[in-house]
């Protein structure tokens, strides 16, 4: 039997698989079906006689752990280690959120994900006039290092990886995390985690921008350069399609706009003189998972392949790690319905399944009550259990990229890649993503897709179970989480106390030095670290930067 693929498979087995298994062995329980039939690590086309077919396979699909990474970024994927189960959580003050984190870790969660409240995300202290009514509502309020110390109390930072959804003030929160590590005796190089740090998508879809694009990109590249030296295991950016999708984009738009944002960051870093293979391995991504399971699987595969090609062909990356698109997934909150909330558990299950079949590195599953409010502890537990059931009981984690070779999934993968590439080309022609944002191009495209989708629901052309079909009369909503006034008072009291107790002269000195450096080209990270260590607040630091950088204003029609 002649099989043209054979020598390539043998090479992959000895070069990639053997080495990988040696480092992280495959788990015995993942090598058989529930009926006892053996399951291989990887399934491949059989008896490929034709050389052209073989080359086509290698070019488009290849092997897991290798360029173009269509089948995944690790050779054995979940057979060795499941994705990180990481529930996005944060509310009220650091005390309540710390308690929720400890609950989640006890329940088998494997990583933390911090949700900050809106004032923190936009760089306002809790006593700022614009923070009124918003403190602790969509996440935890963090003003100073004192809050951050409480947030991670009894959680050793050398034992957990932490993702922080923070963008415009990402440098400040990363600095606080480093400072908390130092207080716990954990050196910066041991810290693992991710900061979102993706400001471009804030202009496009999410809205928590502070500064205009140019100084924002400078802050981002400052972080890249600092982290490569001091916190080398931290993902310095999580280029996010999630919010673009949640704003109503299609799958191809999600990938096209997100990778175009990624291109802008790589260009900015190269322009700042950084070597691509030094920072690109720490660039991570974040996507949404909708309920159209197979389209989502194709989307994740297309994203990996397209990014690998961009990194190698456009940016000349040499390291395979620079070409690897590693990503976090969150199930799409906008698909959750306020009607018949238990149905959301099923939606989330399908979305999570898509993420796992698509090869995600970490996953957040939404809670069933999130169309109503922030989730209760019980709802979060079901969401986490959903991941655990997929991992341990469904069998989909037993072999790598199980849907490869499906005519439908492969053709959809090709199509999404081509459509995303066309968006990137269009943005290149406009002069890059910053220009495209100024012209409201991605915003307009997303708005149109969102309008079309919603109209289909309104007209009944698209069925949403429990909303426009199969409706029932419901009289009461389930109990939801409420954030009390008391939390706001406690937060403002603590900030007042910290301000009274800290060395005010040291704070002023640190802030003056930072502001002066912002006017130069110096890396701001070390100075922000000095300021947070002196207990300067998020708002104070951001205000000094506002003095120099100014603020961004949204364009509306």
């Amino acid at each position: 039997m002649s099989d043209a693929l054979r020598p390539h498979v043998e090479r992959w087995k000895t070069e990639m698989l053997a080495r990988s298994v040696e480092k992280i062995p495959e788990q015995a329980d993942r090598q058989v079906t529930v009926s006892g039939t053996p399951v291989e690590t990887l399934y491949l086309p059989q008896n490929v006689a034709d050389q052209a077919v073989c080359e086509g396979y290698l070019r488009q699909t290849g092997f897991p752990g290798e360029y173009p990474f269509t089948r995944g970024v690790q050779p054995t994927m979940y057979r060795s280690r499941f994705w990180t189960m990481r529930q996005y959580a944060g509310f009220a003050t650091a005390e309540e959120t710390n308690e929720r984190y400890r609950f989640l870790l006890e329940q088998g969660q494997t990583g933390l994900s911090v949700a900050f409240d809106l004032p923190t995300q936009i760089g306002y202290d809790s006593d700022h006039v614009l923070a009124a009514g918003e403190i602790g509502k969509v996440g935890v309020a963090i003003d100073t290092l004192a809050d951050m110390e409480i947030l991670f109390d009894s959680i050793p930072l050398d034992n957990v990886s932490t993702s922080m959804t923070i963008n415009a003030p990402a440098a400040v929160l990363l600095a606080m995390y480093i400072a908390v590590g130092a207080k716990q005796g954990v050196s910066p190089e041991k810290l693992t985690g991710t900061i979102q740090n993706d400001v471009l998508k804030e202009y496009i879809a999410r809205g928590t921008y502070i500064f205009p694009p140019a100084p924002s990109l400078r802050l981002i590249t400052d972080i890249f350069a600092f982290a490569a030296r001091h916190v080398p295991q931290f993902n310095t950016i999580s280029v996010s399609g999630y919010h673009i999708r949640e704003a109503g984009s299609t799958a191809a738009q999600e990938i096209g706009f997100t990778l175009a944002d990624g291109i802008a960051y790589v260009q900015a870093a190269q322009a700042a003189g950084l070597d691509v293979d030094r920072f690109a391995p720490r660039v991570a991504f974040f996507f949404g998972a909708m309920t159209d399971v197979l389209e989502e699987v194709a989307k994740f595969r297309a994203a990996r392949r397209l990014w690998a090609r961009i990194m190698r062909d456009r940016f000349g990356a040499k390291s395979p790690r620079s070409c690897m698109l590693r990503f976090h997934t969150q199930t799409c909150g906008a698909t959750l319905t306020a009607q018949q909330v238990d149905n959301n558990v099923v939606r989330v299950t399908l979305q999570a399944l898509a993420a796992v079949l698509g090869g995600t590195q970490s996953l957040h599953t939404n809670s069933r009550d999130e169309a109503l409010a922030l989730p209760t502890e019980q709802a979060v537990q079901i969401a986490l259990r959903t991941q655990q059931i997929i991992a341990h009981e469904s069998g989909v984690a037993n072999t790598v990229d199980p849907l490869a070779g499906s005519y439908y999934v492969e053709q959809l993968t090709d199509r999404i890649e081509a459509e995303a590439e066309a968006y990137i080309k269009r943005i290149d022609e406009m002069g890059g993503m910053v220009r495209a944002i100024e012209r409201c191009y991605p915003q307009g495209e997303i708005e149109q897709s969102a309008y079309r989708y919603q109209q289909e629901i309104e007209r009944g052309e698209r069925t949403i179970v429990g909303v426009n079909r199969y409706t029932t009369k419901e009289d009461t909503q389930p109990d939801t989480l409420t954030i009390g006034e008391e939390a706001t008072r406690r937060q403002i009291d603590r900030l007042t106390r910290v301000r009274a107790e800290r060395d005010e002269a040291a704070v002023e000195r640190a802030l003056d030095t930072l502001e002066a450096a912002a006017r130069s080209e110096d890396n701001l990270m070390p100075l922000i670290l000095d300021a947070v260590s002196a207990y300067a607040s998020v708002g104070e630091i951001c205000d000094r930067l506002r003095n120099v950088f100014g603020e961004y204003e949204e364009q509306t029609t």
Binding site: E202, G207, Q477, E554
Partner: protein, 135 residues
């Protein structure tokens, strides 16, 4: 007020919340239904919303919030409108607002509170009826 002119609606995002998918959809749907619509953009203060409403002489203000800050911020808008003697402007709200908060918002003067899944037809017919009566 001139009853024959096209009715003017301000759709606003108040507070720090950036979730504008619903607001933008409503803006477009109301424009397509023949209303003149002003969209505030995201991250507006209650003061900015009320200023725009008064300056632009709108008939209706619809405010969208998904951040949980509705009780505080919507109360402030209603209070400022009273201070401006603009209590005749019809107020409504939309977003992730739990049922238990709705009576409070209604008592502040919010005529309707549309929550996730509310059909557009319901929003349009509420507005059509209200504004027809006003003619």
């Amino acid at each position: 007020m001139d009853g024959s002119r096209t009715k003017r609606i301000l759709i606003g995002k108040v507070g720090l919340d950036g979730h504008d998918r619903g607001a933008k959809f409503i803006v477009r749907a109301l424009r397509n239904a023949g209303y003149e619509v002003i969209y505030s953009g995201i991250r507006r203060t209650p003061e900015q919303i009320v200023r725009t409403a008064v300056d632009e002489d709108v008939d209706v203000i619809g405010l969208s919030l998904l951040s949980g800050a509705h009780n505080e911020l919507l109360a402030r808008v209603a209070e400022l409108l009273r201070e401006e003697d603009a209590g005749n402007i019809v107020l409504f709200a939309g977003g992730t607002i739990p049922d238990r908060d709705i009576p409070h918002l209604e008592s502040l003067g919010f005529k309707w509170v549309f929550t996730p899944g509310a059909p557009l037809s319901k929003i349009l017919s509420a507005l059509d009826e209200e504004l027809k009566e006003g003619v």
